[in-house]
Amino acid sequence: MLKALTLLLLFQLAGEVLARLFGLPVPGPVIGMGLLLLAVSLRGGPGEELRGTAGTLLQHLSLLFVPAGTGVLLHVHRLADEWLPLAVALVLSTAIGIAVTALVLKWLVKSGGEEAR
């Protein structure tokens, strides 16, 4: 647990350093994810400990968004002023994003011959 958590933080740190160093538009943790994927692939798979710790963290991924979500308190006035365009834009664009992605992918996978299981 401790070793795996340290490893995750080290990869995040490496990601942050690379992002700053090269002025990349992507946040450090996303680069860290790419680096860890590379490292795990080169080693032929994650160890038992890393797999367990990652599983524990990801099991409650939702929890980690709660503090930022509660930030809605800071914007009550603006949200009350512009609730209609916001609500319509959020609901429709989310649906459109999901539908377009899924339909394009379904069509390409079917026509490309990658058998869906």
């Binding site: 958590l5 943790p29 991924l61 914007h75």
Partner: protein
């Protein structure tokens, strides 16, 4: 309230302990409700937990920055959790590589569709410029979205809230879209929800299956990357087309 109780309250309100504990307690209560309702996506645990916290903070007259002093420890874990997504990604690597072409095309189409439709619909309903620019990057993970909003001239902290709202909406609504269009493949379902609804959609996808979760994680990472590069170039150009 007698004086000793209010003394304790004054003490607790000044330490991070209360914000942290409240976050964990509310989330677990929210998750218990979510489970009691058969994991129904409409009873989204993030939505329920945020609602409880908002009520508690308003009733106790606690400012958000005071709450966040404690909650930041939970918020911080978003970083290592994002790195940890490499593990399920690795497990699906074979299939990911075989689908690389279709995934890339779907990424570009889906990402632009989500961002541009949000801006277009917002503009149609008379949203302010600041709001539109805060709205554009809402489909991607919080840190990227906040950075992009700042570049575009939006409000980063407002974007954070819109990002969470988008995540919750996607987690709640995706199943109806999949049913409507007969999308059954878990790889496709996961990729679409991760692309449009980042980490909250990914959390939902992991509840459905490991494969859906891995594809959602991939889509979240790729869309973050693509949005960070494409929106700051595209949006000012599109705006100049409409502005007279």
């Amino acid at each position: 309230m007698n004086s000793s109780v209010s003394d304790i309250w004054v003490y607790l309100a000044a330490t991070p302990l209360l914000g942290l504990t409240l976050t964990l307690v509310c989330y677990q209560a929210a998750f218990a409700i979510h489970r009691r309702l058969g994991m129904h996506p409409a009873a989204n645990p993030v939505l329920l937990a945020v609602a409880m916290l908002v009520v508690i903070l308003i009733v106790t007259d606690t400012p958000y920055p005071t709450y966040f002093e404690g909650a930041q420890f939970v918020h911080f874990l978003l970083g290592p959790a994002t790195v940890a997504l490499a593990i399920p990604l690795h497990a699906q690597f074979g299939r990911l590589r075989r689908m690389a072409g279709p995934l890339t095309v779907a990424l570009v189409c889906g990402s632009l569709a989500a961002a541009l439709s949000a801006v277009a619909i917002g503009a149609l309903f008379g949203a302010s410029h600041e709001l539109l620019m805060s709205l554009a990057p809402k489909s991607v993970t919080t840190p990227i979205a906040m950075g992009v909003a700042e570049q575009l001239g939006g409000l980063p902290s407002l974007t954070a809230v819109l990002v969470i709202a988008t995540g919750i909406l996607g987690a709640i609504g995706a199943r109806y879209i999949y049913r409507l269009f007969r999308i059954e493949d878990h790889a496709i379902r996961g990729f679409a929800i991760g692309l449009a609804s980042h980490g909250i959609g990914t959390a939902r996808a992991f509840q459905v299956s490991e494969q859906a979760g891995a594809f959602a994680a991939l889509a979240m990472g790729l869309n973050g990357l693509f949005t960070a590069i494409s929106l700051p170039i595209l949006l000012p150009w599109i705006e100049s087309l409409f502005a007279r």
